[in-house]
Symmetry: none
Subunit: 213 residues, 2 copies
């Protein structure tokens, strides 16, 4: 971070004061008046610099879309992720549809740093029940962060519902000419081959969290 000009420091201070004062971020015109600046474009100009230097984050086209990055109020990016259930062999996952998405409805939520979810939409969490997925390096009690998607890239780990076997499992998915290969994360384990119609993708794994002590 480079040193800021007096005007830029003034702007940062004003934003923070406005923020704690009123409970919402200022507009560019608020800053114009609050800092005795004569034009919105001057503020815009300096806000761009502040963003480049990493002091704030601007959200384009969003009114009051100024986020303080060096803020004590809401440190960093925290995301509430709903823990919507558990995954275990033999049980389907109660995956929420995008419109019934409701953090409040889920009894439990997990608070994680935004960079863990990488600010993706439709992220939920599952508790892993049973040790049937150790070959994917996921153990009983682990929490998997999932993203609701219908298709996955080759090689991505996904939650898969095997229709015939009536089993849910976590595996890496590879599309092959006439079949689908489900590869455990542990290279010493043998893959499973099955028909495309038999697999139903319920989401992809974006992170695994295991809390121990």
């Amino acid at each position: 971070m480079k040193a800021l000009s007096p005007k830029q420091q003034h702007i940062i201070d004003f934003i923070r004061r406005f923020w704690t004062d009123r409970g919402y971020p200022p507009t560019i015109r608020d800053i114009v008046h609050g800092c005795g600046i004569s034009s919105t474009s001057v503020v815009d100009y300096n806000l761009d610099i502040l963003e480049k230097e990493g002091y704030i984050r601007r959200h384009p086209e969003i009114s009051r879309g100024i986020e303080l990055l060096t803020r004590p109020p809401t440190l960093g990016h925290q995301v509430q992720v709903p823990v919507i259930g558990q995954i275990a062999a033999g049980e389907p996952i109660p995956v929420p549809t995008p419109d019934t998405w409701d953090v409040a409805a889920s009894s439990e939520t997990l608070q994680v740093s935004g960079d863990l979810t990488r600010d993706r939409e439709g992220v939920y969490a599952l508790k892993v029940k049973g040790s049937s997925m150790v070959d994917a390096l996921v153990n009983d009690g682990d929490i998997v962060l999932m993203q609701y998607v219908n298709v996955v890239e080759n090689g991505e780990m996904a939650a898969i519902w095997l229709r015939a076997e009536k089993e849910a499992t976590l595996k890496k998915v590879y599309r092959e000419p006439d079949r689908i290969r489900l590869q455990p994360a542990n290279s010493q384990m043998k893959p499973i081959y099955t028909e495309p119609d038999n697999v139903e993708i319920q989401g992809r794994v974006i992170a695994v969290i295991r809390q121990l002590a």
Copy 2:
């Protein structure tokens, strides 16, 4: 404060999530989409009720002028954890001494929710190099949150330096009458037995984080 309708509770929850998520309050239309409501006037109507009941404060004519008056249940804080190096079989861990402890000095830091570290002191992170620890359900690239301790409880997973073998590894530690049992996390794997003098505890594992996609 009167009891809120499900819809009103939903709106409150959404505002709170939006707020912690994005760093600024939602617009009425954000709430419309986020809560599956079909008209802005319905939100307006309910926001008025929420203001009358004292849950929020509205600022007329101000975009995103919604202020939450009720504090989030547990405004979880975030902790900066230094990533001080990597653990791999064959290499000792560069464990920091308590006085050379310096978050700022480490080139990399990891931001995690406070409840992951459970607000413990002396927490650091290691990147796992190589797949020599798959039997402990830890893979190449995983990040282990460690706490700097010299002794561990029976059954806790710890980073262990085996003097004779000149190897670092993650295992569950059990003290037995004349020896120490190092048990992989995978119950199908066999334990290692060694003498107490041969093991040097470099810290205990309090969490494992694996970021995939």
